[in-house]
């Protein structure tokens, strides 16, 4: 299980996420971690991945990691650019997108996401940027993959605010709210991978990344985490994957910390 090379947990996270994307899939990309993973997939096994950013660029093929969803490079390399109304009303809402790829500040055990506020809404301790396109990506894409680093703060027992619905308070809630997509099928962190239990919709920890102790995972989760009976270990990065992500980051506009 040891990789031929050293790698960071952030690299493992991006690589694990990139592996989830198939060629020719239509993928709606949030900026930051998801954008890094999607562009990595495009350089590896999914050269024809169809990337959509909420700025309206369809089929963008950026030569380097964009800093923002509206970078000129995205617009110049896109198959076509549509308006923001078209992105949300004609492409997202009707459920045409295969995969929604989201980050968030916090996630709960039913894969609901918070990117709005820490503290209370009226008296915030930390005011986060807010919803953006996330509620519609989480609601309407055929499936959703979430990426965030795992810690007691980012995996709290209870969210102070639900920005985007995963599975609400459990089975049936997505249907109740009229959300048409299947919801989050996978949560990829720097420690491993979580997947919803098909019946209860509670997130189950199914894959441990190489070199990570399971105790670290449990400590980094604010709720009583369910671990899969058959816990697997994530395939370590290949040499090709590591080279690709390092050249991507080196050439990118993205500050290295993100």
């Amino acid at each position: 299980m040891e990789s031929a090379e050293m790698f960071t947990s952030d690299e493992m996270m991006s690589i694990a996420a990139a592996r989830q994307l198939s060629n020719n899939e239509v993928c709606f990309i949030g900026i930051g971690l998801p954008s890094k993973a999607a562009n990595l997939a495009r350089r590896l096994h999914a050269p024809d991945l169809i990337m959509i950013y909420e700025s309206g660029t369809l089929g963008a093929k950026p030569s380097r990691l964009p800093l923002s969803i509206g970078d000129g490079d995205l617009a110049e390399t896109a198959d076509t650019i549509v308006s923001v109304p078209e992105i949300f009303n004609y492409l997202l809402q009707p459920g045409r997108i295969d995969v929604g790829f989201l980050g968030a500040a916090q996630i709960d055990r039913f894969a609901n996401l918070n990117s709005t506020v820490i503290g209370t809404y009226r008296n915030p301790v930390v005011r986060l940027p807010g919803a953006g396109g996330a509620p519609e990506i989480a609601g309407a894409c055929k499936k959703v993959i979430v990426m965030l680093r795992q810690s007691p703060k980012s995996f709290p027992k209870e969210l102070p605010f639900i920005t985007s619905v995963g599975f609400g308070s459990g089975p049936g809630d997505r249907e109740k709210f009229g959300l048409k997509g299947a919801g989050p099928v996978m949560v990829i962190t720097d420690l491993g991978i979580l997947e919803p239990d098909p019946k209860t919709k509670e997130l189950v920890f199914t894959h441990l990344h190489p070199n990570i102790e399971i105790e670290k995972v449990i400590e980094s989760t604010g709720w009583n985490l369910r671990i899969a009976d058959q816990l697997e270990v994530t395939e370590p990065p290949t040499k090709e994957e590591l080279e690709a992500i390092r050249s991507l980051v080196a050439a990118g506009e993205l500050p290295l910390a993100r």
């Binding site: 930051g32 970078d71 005011r127 619905v165």
Partner: protein, 318 residues
């Protein structure tokens, strides 16, 4: 007050001057016209063509304290220079409407121009927080900031309703999220055909909508291309509209994917080269990503922020 401001406008053509006076009376008499239709009132017999006027004059005459002003541009073509002019003219008590508040709103908020923000994503794209926005929301500095918060889809549909002369738009969204309870411009609505419960979002019709575009011709026809975001809808939703442009040209030769706003849909045009910096104007200059990253440090505390604004905006340079 508004009357005086309108009269004081020194347009070069007498015709336009008369049109502006007429405008005032229709504000007085036809409130439904302004509210329901969201069209600028500057029209007599024969439509008004947008005059090309200096930016300072445009902000001075078209924007009043207490107004609702949309400043649109989705990462691209953000009307930064118009924001700076609003700051220089010390406009106050504004309601600012903008999907992605970005640096322009951070500056307006930090300089005390804004009492309410209507928005859907308030961060520094790819960098992190908008510190002035956070300081206002978290600590009420320099004054408390009321917020009317949406998803992108929700605020987009509010602009669409405004542009369409409708009081609301329908969407599938908000249900199950925290915003559904805290945002008064979102209400349930039931499909009369299927019984499905959806959400209605209230139209937004700003007193003034400002966008930045690549070019206008001498008649005031406007052309923009690249990422065009919600700009067309913002202009059409506005009771008045202002377009700042990189360049005034004789002819608008067609560009792939361009949006053309005919002059009769625009209230005024102002020339403002590099008016979008540190955002960008496709075909003119690139996004200044370094500045976006630098803004994090500049804006992180009140003193460095005020010093930067004083040196770079209030001093006249922008």
């Amino acid at each position: 007050m508004m009357f005086l401001k309108i009269i004081l406008l020194r347009f070069t053509q007498r015709d336009t001057y008369i049109v502006c006076l007429t405008a005032h009376f229709s504000i007085m008499s036809d409130r439904w016209f302004l509210q329901g239709f969201g069209v600028r009132p500057l029209r007599q017999r024969g439509s008004h063509l947008a005059p090309i006027i200096p930016l300072s004059e445009a902000i001075g005459s078209l924007l009043n304290d207490g107004d609702t002003v949309a400043l649109e541009g989705f990462t691209h073509l953000i009307p930064m220079s118009a924001g700076h002019e609003i700051i220089r003219q010390h406009k106050t008590d504004l309601t600012v409407v903008r999907l992605t508040p970005d640096l322009i709103s951070d500056q307006l908020i930090g300089m005390g121009c804004v009492s309410k923000l209507v928005f859907s994503w308030g961060g520094n794209p790819g960098v992190g927080s908008l510190h002035r926005f956070r300081d206002a929301v978290e600590h009420g500095w320099p004054q408390p900031l009321e917020i009317d918060e949406h998803s992108h889809a929700g605020l987009t549909n509010r602009f669409i309703a405004g542009a369409s002369g409708l009081p609301f738009a329908v969407m599938r969204g908000y249900r199950g999220t925290g915003l559904d309870g805290v945002t008064p411009t979102v209400l349930p609505i039931t499909c009369p055909f299927t019984g499905e419960e959806l959400r209605a979002v209230a139209a937004v019709n700003p007193d003034l909508s400002v966008i930045h575009a690549q070019r206008a011709d001498r008649k005031g026809n406007v052309q923009l291309w690249g990422i065009v975001g919600i700009q067309k809808e913002a202009v059409l939703a506005g009771r008045r509209s202002l377009v700042t442009v990189e360049e005034i040209v004789d002819e608008l030769d067609p560009r792939p994917g361009h949006v053309v706003l005919p002059s009769w849909l625009v209230t005024a045009v102002a020339l403002s080269p590099r008016g979008s910096h540190p955002s960008y104007a496709a075909g003119y200059y690139q996004r200044d990503n370094d500045f976006y990253i630098a803004w994090d440090a500049i804006s992180r505390n009140r003193e460095t922020f005020l010093a930067w604004m004083s040196a770079n905006v209030l001093g006249g340079a922008s």
